[in-house]
Amino acid sequence: MKRLLDNETIRGLIMVLFSVILAMAVGSLVMLINGYQPLKVYLTLFKGAFFGKRNFLTSLQRATPLVFTSLAAIFAFRTGLFNLGIEGQFLIGAVIATFIGFTISGLNPVFHVLLALCCAVAAGAIWAFIPGLLKVKLKTDEVIITIMFNYLARFGVSYLVNYPLRESAVAPMTPQIKPSAELVRLAQGTQLNTGFFIALFMVLLAAFLLSRTTLGFGMRNVGLAPRFALFGGIPVNKTILMGMLLSGAFAGLGGGIEVLGVYRRFMEDFSSGLGFDGILVALLAKRNPLGALFAAIFYGGLKSGAMVLEWTSDIPRELIGTIVAIIIFFMAAESIFDFIWNLGNSRVKAVTKEA
C-alpha cells in the first residue's frame, strides 16, 4: 500500500483529477454556447457509459483497442521515443490478421486465432522496427518518419483492400474471416469479445515487462538518462530497437484483435483515429500500463456513453473526444500544476534533503 501511494503516484492522480475537472469546465462552456445543459449532459454521458450491463459491456468493447494502442504508445514513451506511427502499425496488423483469417480454413479455432494474431504482432512490429532502425543507424528523427509510415501503411492497405483482397463490388472490403478465426463474443447485443481478456492479460504483461524485467529496466533508463544507460552498460541501441519493436507489436496485436473480434473483415478506414487515441490514453494514464487500462475504459466508456447521448438527445458524440483532448492539454503542461503541488510538498522535500 505504501508503495502504491508514494508521492509520485499521488501527484499524478491529483494532476489527472485537476485536468479532468478543468477540461469538463471548458466543455461545459462549449455546451452552454451551443445551448445544451452541461450537468444533464454529463449525467447522461456517465449513465450511458457505465450504468446498465449493455452500456458497460459496450464501454469495455470500445476500450479494448485503446488498451492495445495505448500500451504501444507507453512502450515507446518509456524508451524515450515518439511512435506516432501506431495508427499504421495497427492497420498493418489488422490486414494481416484478416488475411490469415479468411485464407486458411479447417484449422482448430484456437490455432487459427493464435496464428492470425501472431502474424499481426509480427507485422506491426516489423513496421515499427524500420523507423527504429533508421533512428539508431542514421539518427533520423522518428517523429516524422513514423508519421510518414502511417500514410504508407494506409495507402498500402488501401491498395490491398481495393485490389487483391477485395471481395465486394460495392465497397472496398475483404471477405469475411472464417468462423474458426473469430474471437468469441461474450454477450448478446454487444460486440465485446474475448479480445478484452487478451487486453487484460497484455496490460499485466506490459506492467510486468516494464517494471520487473531487465528489458524494462533498460528501457526506462535509456528513456530518462541515455548517457547514464550507456555508462552503466545498458545496450542503448538494442533497447531503442526493442522499444520500437514492442510498441509496434502491441499496435499490430490491437489491430488483429479488433478485426477478429468486432468487424470480422477488413474495411477501408475502419480504424481511423484509434492509434492517436491510444497516445491520448497513454498520456492520460501518465505512461503507466495499469493506468492505461483504467484510462482506456474511461475513454472507451465516454465514447460509448456519447453514443447513448447522441441517441437520446441530439448532442454529437465527438464532444467527448474534444474534452479528452483538453484534458491532455492540461496534463501535458505540467508546470501549471507544479506550483499547486509544491505548496503542499515543499516541506516534505526540505526534510528529505536535510537527511
Partner: protein, 313 residues
C-alpha cells in the same frame, strides 16, 4: 492523355493548400519549433471559413474569420507549449485530435449534419481572371482563372522569402531557431519570436484551410485537411526549410496528387501507389540528409586533424 495543360492547372490548385501548410510549418521550424499542429489548425480553418461564409454571405469574411479561428488554436498551442512548457510534439498531437473532434462536433451542433456540409447559401471564392495576362495565349490559360487564395499563396511565398532573408524581424526569427542562446545574448527575445511564428503559422494554416473549403471545393467534410499539414511538413523538409523550396515541394506533391486523380479516372494502375509516392520520397530524403550529415561530420574531423598535424610540424 496524362499530361496536358489541365494537369498543370490542377497541380497548381492541389499544391496550394499544401503550400500554405508548408509555409506555416516552415516559419515555425525557422523559429525552432516543430509544429505538427498545422494539420489541426488547417482543419479548424476550413470549418470556420464555411461557418463564416454561410452566415455572413461573404466568402472573404469567411476567409478572414478562418484565419482568426486557426490563430485561436495557434494561441492555445503557443500558450500551453511555450508558456506552460508542455512538450511540443505531445501538444501538437493533442491539438490535432482536438481539432478533429471539435470540427465534427461543431458541424453537427451547428449545421445538424454528419460527414459533410454544403449548401447553395454557402458562398465560395470566385475564380479570378487576371486582367491582361488572361488574353495571352498559353500563359493566360496557365496562370489566370484561379481562386484569389492561389494568388495570395504565391505572393506569400515571395513575401516569406523577403521576410526571412531581408527584414530584421525575419533574420532575428531565424537566429532564434538556429541558436537561441546566440539570439538571447544579442538582446533578441526568443519566446516572443517563437510566439509570433506560431501565430503566423496559425494565420497561414487558416488560409490553407479556407482554400480547402471555399476555394477548391465549396463544402466542409470531416477530416478535410487529410494529412496536408503533415505534407506541408514534408514539403518543408524537401525544400530545406526555405520558402521557395517549400513551395516547390508542395508543387511536387500537388503534381503527384493530380496525376493520381487522373489515373484514378483512367484506371491504368492502382492509385494507391501514386499516393504513397510522396511519403516514400520524404523518407528517402530524410535518410539522405542524415547520411550527408554523418559524412560532413567525418570530413570536418578529418580536415581539423590534417590542419593540426600541419601546425605541429
Amino acid at each position: 492523355m496524362v499530361f496536358d495543360l489541365e494537369l498543370i492547372r490542377s497541380t497548381l490548385r492541389l499544391a496550394t493548400p499544401i503550400a500554405f501548410a508548408g509555409l506555416a510549418t516552415m516559419l515555425t521550424i525557422q523559429a525552432g519549433i516543430v509544429n505538427i499542429a498545422v494539420e489541426g489548425m488547417m482543419l479548424v480553418g476550413a470549418f470556420v471559413a464555411v461557418v463564416g461564409s454561410y452566415y455572413t454571405g461573404s466568402a472573404i469574411i469567411g476567409v478572414i474569420l478562418s484565419m482568426l479561428g486557426s490563430m485561436t488554436l495557434a494561441f492555445i498551442f503557443a500558450l500551453f507549449s511555450l508558456k506552460w512548457k508542455a512538450h511540443i510534439i505531445i501538444m501538437g498531437i493533442a491539438i490535432n485530435i482536438f481539432a478533429n473532434y471539435l470540427t465534427v462536433y461543431l458541424l453537427r451542433a451547428i449545421f445538424g449534419v454528419a460527414g459533410a456540409f454544403s449548401s447553395p447559401d454557402l458562398k465560395g471564392l470566385e475564380m479570378i481572371k487576371l486582367p491582361v495576362i488572361d488574353n495571352v495565349p498559353i500563359l493566360g490559360s496557365l496562370v489566370s482563372g484561379y481562386s484569389i487564395l492561389v494568388y495570395i499563396c504565391w505572393i506569400l511565398v515571395l513575401l516569406s522569402h523577403i521576410f526571412l532573408y531581408k527584414t530584421k524581424l525575419g533574420i532575428h526569427l531565424r537566429a532564434v531557431g538556429e541558436n537561441p542562446a546566440a539570439a538571447e545574448v544579442m538582446g533578441i527575445r526568443c519566446n516572443e519570436m517563437r510566439f509570433f511564428a506560431v501565430m503566423a503559422s496559425g494565420a497561414l494554416a487558416g488560409l490553407g484551410g479556407s482554400y480547402l473549403s471555399l476555394g477548391h471545393l465549396t463544402m466542409f467534410t470531416e477530416g478535410m485537411s487529410a494529412g496536408r499539414g503533415f505534407m506541408g511538413l514534408a514539403a518543408t523538409i524537401f525544400g530545406m526549410f526555405t520558402p521557395i523550396g517549400t513551395f516547390l515541394g508542395s508543387i511536387l506533391f500537388g503534381l503527384f496528387d493530380s496525376i493520381s486523380w487522373r489515373l484514378q479516372g483512367m484506371q491504368i494502375m492502382p492509385v494507391q501507389f501514386l499516393q504513397m509516392l510522396p511519403y516514400a520520397i520524404i523518407v528517402i530524403i530524410l535518410m539522405t540528409i542524415s547520411f550527408r550529415e554523418k559524412w560532413v561530420r567525418a570530413m570536418t574531423a578529418k580536415a581539423n586533424r590534417a590542419a593540426l598535424e600541419k601546425a605541429e610540424e
